[in-house]
Amino acid sequence: VNLSFLVLCEWVSEYVKVGRILSNIFDIQAYPSHHQQVLTLVYEKTFELMELFAGKGKELILDFKAVAFGKIKSKTINAKHICLLSNCLSVVSKIA
């Protein structure tokens, strides 16, 4: 969950950067449709990533797949792992 969360943050940040750069290239007044397309794409992808994170978090923790992947030290999912996912989902919800 930690790793997934960090990757999510990184990707969101990259999308926002790409959005900013492209927005700067396309003058808003001169090319309003291009600007709008870029913004739409950036936010579409960001929302998709958030959905993906929720799905993967559920798989890893609630469906116990993190145990099978050997990504956690303990033999089972415990309260601490669930709390971590809860906190990450809370942060992502606030961003959305």
Binding site: Q36, L39, T40, Y43, E44, F47, E48, M50, E51, A54, G55, G57, K58, I61, L62, N78, A79, K80, I82, C83, L84, L85, S86, N87, L89, S90, V92, S93, I95, A96
Partner: protein
């Protein structure tokens, strides 16, 4: 994120709502799971423990101690969310009212073990001061 009006202009409101709904649903499932681990399981195990004569030894008792330790593992950083705090509070109340009180009344060796557990749960005082003080009494 963008302002709601901007999201509407770009036709992204549905996408945002879909993502938020999925995040909310997953959060709910997470809290249900946490509650099952800490509260429901605790209640059923305490009932089983008391039904079996309420002795400290035995598998059920060990499981209860395991639940205590899981609570200890949820350090300050995980108590930021209100939902997590509510679940932990319910579990903490169950354990203190039913389990610890029972063990303390029995006295002897069990009293010392309970005191160690209470010390380990000290960090919870910050969040549940009344419940913790009740426990100390």
């Amino acid at each position: 994120m963008l302002l709601p009006e901007k999201l509407d202009t770009l036709g992204l409101r549905d996408k945002q709502q879909k993502a938020l709904a999925l995040l909310q649903s997953t959060r709910q499932q997470v809290i249900t799971k946490l509650s099952a681990i800490l509260s429901f399981k605790t209640d059923s195990q305490i009932a089983e423990f008391l039904k079996g004569g309420g002795e400290l030894s035995g598998k059920t008792s060990n499981s209860l101690v395991g639940l205590f330790l899981q609570m200890v593992e949820i350090t300050d950083e995980y108590l930021v969310g209100e939902e997590v705090r509510q679940v932990l509070k319910a579990a903490f109340q169950s354990l203190t009212q039913k389990y610890i009180t029972h063990l303390l009344l029995k006295g002897g060796k069990q009293t010392a073990e309970v005191e160690i557990l209470i010390e380990k749960l000290k960090f919870l005082k910050k969040y549940f001061p009344e419940e913790y003080d009740t426990l100390l009494q």
